[in-house]
């Protein structure tokens, strides 16, 4: 009995295509078969969705970064302004005078014969001898430097 069954099975297997009996699911799918265009569309939509999520999260991250940088910039500006105020107070004439007194330094102006004026004569002449040339030496003038 057992032997007969084996034979009949073997027969069924060799019965060829289209033969009645069990279906070859690999060759004859009865379910929904998605068209290639549709598949492409689904993949595209899915891809777009993923891109949107990535893009959105990236934008949010960049937004946060901008916020941090803006805050840092503002803090730095605040610091710079604060330092500028402190520095200018420090080098202000009143503070310098107080520092001289506190260090018991007695300073006087140099005598006229102790001073050598160095001027850029070209600039000097072009400015009709402006006083503000003194102490703001411009070495770019054509006339070069001359010691008077």
């Amino acid at each position: 009995m057992k032997k007969q069954t084996r034979k009949s099975t073997a027969r069924r297997r060799t019965s060829g295509r289209g033969a009645p009996g069990r279906k070859n699911k690999k060759l004859h799918a009865d379910g929904f078969r998605m068209p290639a265009t549709m598949s492409l569309l689904v993949v595209l939509v899915f891809g777009l969705g993923l891109f949107y999520l990535w893009f959105s999260s990236r934008t949010v991250a960049l937004g946060r970064q901008i916020e941090i940088e803006e805050q840092a910039l503002e803090d730095l500006r605040r610091q710079v302004a604060g330092e500028e105020v402190r520095w200018n107070e420090l080098i202000g004439p009143r503070n310098l005078q107080a520092a001289l007194v506190s260090h018991r330094l007695e300073m006087d102006w140099p005598r006229a014969d102790q001073v050598i004026h160095i001027r850029d004569m070209a600039l000097w002449e072009s400015n009709a001898g402006q006083l503000n040339v003194v102490g703001q030496l411009d070495r770019r003038g054509d006339g070069g430097l001359r010691v008077q």
């Binding site: 949010v60 004439p93 140099p110 006229a112 006083l131 503000n132």
Partner: protein, 573 residues
Amino acid sequence: MRIPPYWIRAGVVGLFFISLFGGLAARVTHLQLGDHAELRSSYQRKVVFQTRLQGGRGRILDRNQRVLALDETRKNIGIDPQFIHRHNDPQRVQAALSRFLRVEPALIGTRMADRDSQFYSLEKYVEDARATELDAYLTENSLRKGVVFQKVKTRTYPHGNLLAHVVGFENREGVGSAGIEYEMNRFLVGKGGLRVGQKDGNRREMVSRRQVQIDPQDGADVVLTVDQYLQYGVEEALEKAMSMYNAKGAWAVVMDSRTGGILAMASKPDYDLNTFYSTSPELFRNHALGATYEPGSIIKPLVFAAAMNEGLVDPDEMIDCEQGVWMHRNRPLRDYHPYAELSAADVLKKSSNIGTAKIGLRLHPHAVHAYYQKFGLGRKTGIDLPGEETGISHHPRNWDSLTHSRISIGHAITVTAMQMAAALNVIANDGKWIQPYIVSEVKATDGTLLYKRQPDPQGTRVLRSDVARTMRRLMARITEDGGTGRRARFGEYAVAGKTGTAEKVLPGGGYAKEKNIASFAGFFPAENPVLTIVVSIDEPTGDLRTGGSVAAPVFAEIGEYAAGYLTIPVEGF
């Protein structure tokens, strides 16, 4: 054909989900496409915001690019008592605030005790360093909740009183209200920006959804011709004089003789620019520009120069000074010291009223008026600072019988110290009047030059060059021995100048004998002038209240300081 039961079950479930999502989709579509003005405006109100971004105000710098005024961020500190009582420890918060803030601890206690209130301001404009320190302390001790820190921009003047009347101040609304802050407001004020975006449930901006961002632009930097160290020397000298002579006020102008650039301008009493709001408005007045007074004898060199320019007087000719009293049009004109005869040069040196009046009378009244006009009296100098007064210089048709003789000695005319500096500078500058100025240049934050003052080397010719040269020599004699201005001399420098003592005019007419303005106006080195300086002391007290005794020493002190600081050679540049 029989439908399997599981198909029916699947169909029901499917239908449920389809109706659910379909319904939602329909609602969303309806909300999106429908006309829901109320909903939209509610969303706009809650989520969308629009903020104006404030551009910073430009800085004010001196000629060496030292900062005189700038913007600084500070913090207003307050508390939310209700929140603190719910989520924090009021006692410890109070103790911490008392430690860092400059507020009476009792006041903090009173405000903290008001449990129903949601906000109380404790201290405004707290320096950034102190606020940061307090913030760190509170955070470290878990006491930060309910303490409010609000950032505010404020204008800071690092040198307080120094140059108060020149720099001026910006009011709380951000508008320049005095001095350069007012005059150059259009350059200093920044351009506002705009930000439109959305905020989340915590009212914080979602930066990723920012729609519009127009960055603000900071205002331009204004560079002045003044020098803060020279200014300090001038202010110290004035303070000392005020204290020594118990004077009501004092003012001075230091000008570059060749360009007209103002190197220092001081007016006392002054005020701290950082606390302008608690200052009496009386103190805002810049007396160097805004106080008009009869100049007295400091005007004499102008009359003398005008007469010499017209060929009506020779320095060597002798003039009868009438032994100190001269009856002119039935009214006596007196000299401080009586003289019989003086050379014209000595009339100036001894400051004889009679001699000068006689020289002035040689000029036609219209000529006197015209020369005064050319010297810039009776009109504004046009310096780039607000609050300048015109002074009074009447037309000859409005003169009375005595005006002609009195106007030559500095009566019947009023001037400002600035006008006198510019007028005297005509003699220092080879006979040419040049307009004084105080703004050197304006630079945008990116370094672009928006404005640059070009000094006018030509100026307006008032006197011939040789007359100006002679006048410089004659004025230098005034500070020599025997002259009224000998106390204006300093070091080895030859100083040319003129003393002046003018009694103040009473409101109802006449002069106040006890109230005078002592002045000294001059320049140095006499032959080749570099600086022109005018000093006036208002109502000095004591026995000697003349320009020669009170103002001349101040001139010498300022001159010595300036000569040393600017290293001016004895013979000039």
